[in-house]
């Protein structure tokens, strides 16, 4: 493992510990050290992606290592945006552990194993990374929606059972959880739509067909439809509260299950 990854992983590990500690104890603890650790880890993380891009002369979105690195990087960014908008500290405790796991995968993976794809024109060299990057960011958004959904369900249970522990006071209000979840889902949906459009365009430009029905393609469309239905019912039927929170959780579980399924089923990603 590179020394840079050791620094990055240490930084994220500190953030994970702090965010969970902060959620389960009464006082805000170690805010400053965690912030510094996050700044170092994110800086290192960004630098790694940048350097990898420089060294290979392409977007760092090829292979498990680069994809995990990019996905976890996107998750951190989205968490920071969510914090900026909603000041919900608690969300970090739900997202940083996954960031750490993804970063570990990236850190221990061997370097670029797959050869870089060869493009026949410059449009393709933009479309493929855009397709992959947008989809990865979409999944990161869906994960944020999932995390906020989990917070909603926990908070809802505490309220229903009239149990007011430390976690109750640390979690944001139901409305905030709902707002984060629905906004993250909407952002994810837009990113996914753009990502799919990019993919279709790339496919046409390269193979002169719009759509090649493989497991991953079918899965993408199904995911897209699931989120479309959820968002549509949220907007038109005024669907909210517990059901919407559960939907954000279930739909993400579907995403993960199918991603894993697709990976072992066929040609992977």
């Amino acid at each position: 493992m590179e020394i840079l990854w050791i620094i990055i992983l240490t930084g994220y590990a500190v953030c994970v510990a702090q965010s969970i500690f902060a959620l389960t104890t009464k006082r805000p603890v170690m805010r400053k050290p965690a912030l510094i650790a996050l700044a170092i880890a994110l800086g290192g993380h960004t630098a790694w992606l940048f350097l990898r891009g420089l060294r290979t002369g392409r977007c760092p979105l090829v292979g498990v290592q680069e994809m995990s690195a990019f996905l976890s990087w996107g998750l951190v960014l989205l968490t920071l945006i969510a914090y900026r908008w909603y000041h919900a500290n608690a969300l970090q405790a739900f997202i940083f552990p996954i960031v750490l796991v993804l970063a570990v995968i990236a850190g221990i993976s061997p370097g670029p194993s797959q050869p870089a794809p060869v493009f026949s024109n410059s449009l393709q060299s933009v479309l493929l990374p855009a397709h992959i990057g947008l989809l990865l960011l979409a999944y990161a958004s869906f994960f944020v929606a999932f995390g906020a959904g989990v917070m909603y369900i926990i908070q809802e249970r505490e309220l229903k059972h009239k149990r007011f522990g430390t976690v109750f006071y640390k979690l944001p209000s139901l409305d905030t959880c709902d707002a984060i979840s629905s906004r993250a889902m909407a952002i994810g949906f837009v990113l996914m739509t753009l990502g799919i459009v990019g993919g279709v365009w790339y496919s046409y430009s390269r193979y002169h067909i719009y759509w090649q029905p493989g497991p991953i393609e079918i899965f993408s469309v199904v995911t897209w439809l699931v989120y479309l239905i959820i968002i549509q019912s949220r907007i038109n039927a005024g669907w909210g509260g517990r059901a919407a929170a559960l939907a954000s959780i279930v739909s993400f579980v579907i995403v993960v299950c199918s991603l894993v399924g697709v990976r072992y089923l066929g040609h992977g990603f």
Binding site: K26, E156, L159, K160, L174, D178, G238, G240, G241, R242
Partner: protein
């Protein structure tokens, strides 16, 4: 220099006594200037609230005289015989006085531990004293530190964290469900006094709109007018239910007036998230089975009160932590005050030593023979101060140690005697 404090609070004196001894705001400037007019008092400050009166002063006449002076002032100012206050006053000096003030400002001595009003009142009292010109070097430090200790305790411990009254718990619950209350609607069912109070605390917390319903329509309209809300027919309750976010129920009915089946049907029309039901009536007016409805959250009086109790317990636990902070801060601050106190002593020692060295130099000047002007200047500007510093250093260390142990004046007397033996 001593810091003395005399006062009474809800813990030591009944309300009538506190009322008699309170200082009305208009009288404060006069009271403050009369307080420091006395020979014994150098600086003075008065904190007067409905729960306490505290007189704080710095004095050079010794702690006992300072305390006696404050107690006399309190009874004289309010034209009471001096023994009328016996048994109601507490008297503190130095570290104890500072500790008491820290505890008061941090709301550890309050009736409701952790309430936030007292800090503002202490700040105001400080401002009054500044305006009256009765604050000097010592008390301004004491007050600054009291305020910063209070802030530290509020942020580092949970003494002020959770609400401890039924209506503030209701507001807290509303905030835990709806982040922003400004676009939310309260539906008040039953226009009794209790219900009105609870509705008012929700409106004070920023809730946007109030709808009132009551068996007698006039009373509902009266309250609706008072809070610029709307009134609806009691029979139309389930029709307006979908538009309400918080339902506050407080009727005198002997039985349930809000039923789960009808509520469930009504909430189908509500295309928004959760609804908060608060039942503060005894006997209960909302069927407890309502809690099983999705997105409906029901709390009755017992729930609210058990939250209050748990929060009070929590605050008491946190208060122990706060006490430990106070102990440490007092110790720290007293040491700091004492080391400030040795400033004049250090100057005095150096002065005495310098006099000796200079006079010896002059006396023996001839023996040194001819000196150039530069040499002479160097002796005066460099050698003499260096000698004085070298000689005084161990003495200053002694003074500082003595100050830390609390007996700097005795030590100074000893030193003066030593230096003057020529």
């Amino acid at each position: 220099m001593n810091i003395v404090l005399v006062g009474l609070s809800h813990k030591t004196a009944p309300l009538e006594m506190r009322e008699r001894l309170a200082f009305a705001e208009a009288l404060l400037p006069d009271a403050l200037s009369r307080l420091v007019d006395q020979e014994t008092v150098d600086e003075g400050l008065i904190v007067s609230t409905c729960n306490r009166v505290e007189l704080i002063a710095s004095t050079a006449a010794g702690a006992d005289r300072g305390i006696a002076c404050l107690a006399d002032f309190l009874s004289e100012f309010h034209q009471l015989p001096p023994d009328a206050l016996n048994g109601h006053l507490y008297r503190h000096a130095d570290a104890d006085a500072i500790k008491h003030l820290f505890r008061v400002a941090s709301s550890l001595d309050s009736m409701v531990v952790g309430e936030s009003q007292i800090l503002g009142q202490v700040k105001e009292a400080y401002q009054h004293a500044i305006n009256a010109g009765t604050i000097g070097r010592v008390l301004s430090q004491v007050m600054h530190r009291s305020l910063s200790v209070a802030k530290r305790i509020r942020s580092e411990t949970g003494v002020a964290q959770n609400p401890v009254s039924v209506s503030s718990v209701a507001v807290e619950l509303a905030r835990k469900i709806f982040e922003d209350l400004t676009d939310k609607t309260v539906l008040l069912v039953g226009a009794g006094e209790m219900g009105e109070l609870a509705a008012r605390s929700l409106l004070d917390a920023g809730t946007g709109k109030l709808i009132v319903t009551n068996r007698t329509a006039e009373r509902a309209e009266e309250i609706a007018r008072k809070y610029s809300g709307g009134a609806v027919n009691f029979e139309a309750f389930y029709d307006v239910l979908p538009s309400a976010d918080i339902v506050l129920c407080s009727t005198g009915a002997p039985d349930y007036v809000i039923h789960p089946a009808e509520t469930k049907r009504a909430l189908k029309f509500r295309k928004k998230g959760p609804v908060l039901f608060i039942d503060i009536s005894v006997p209960r007016n909302i069927d407890p089975r309502l809690a099983d409805i999705e997105n409906a959250f029901l709390f009755d009086v017992d729930d609210l009160e058990s939250i209050v109790k748990a929060n009070i317990r929590e605050r008491q636990q946190e208060a122990q932590q706060a006490e430990a902070i106070i102990e440490a801060e007092v110790k720290n601050f007293v040491e700091q005050l004492r080391s400030l106190d040795i400033g004049p002593a250090v100057v005095e020692v150096k002065e005495l030593l310098s006099q000796i060295v200079v006079s010896e130099f002059k006396r023996n000047r001839k023996r040194l023979g001819d000196l150039s002007a530069e040499q002479e200047a160097a002796i005066e500007a460099v050698l003499i101060p260096a000698l004085v510093n070298k000689l005084s250093h161990p003495m200053i260390v002694h003074i500082r140690n003595a100050a830390r142990d609390g007996e700097p004046s005795q030590m100074m007397d000893e030193l003066r005697k030593m230096i003057r033996i020529e």
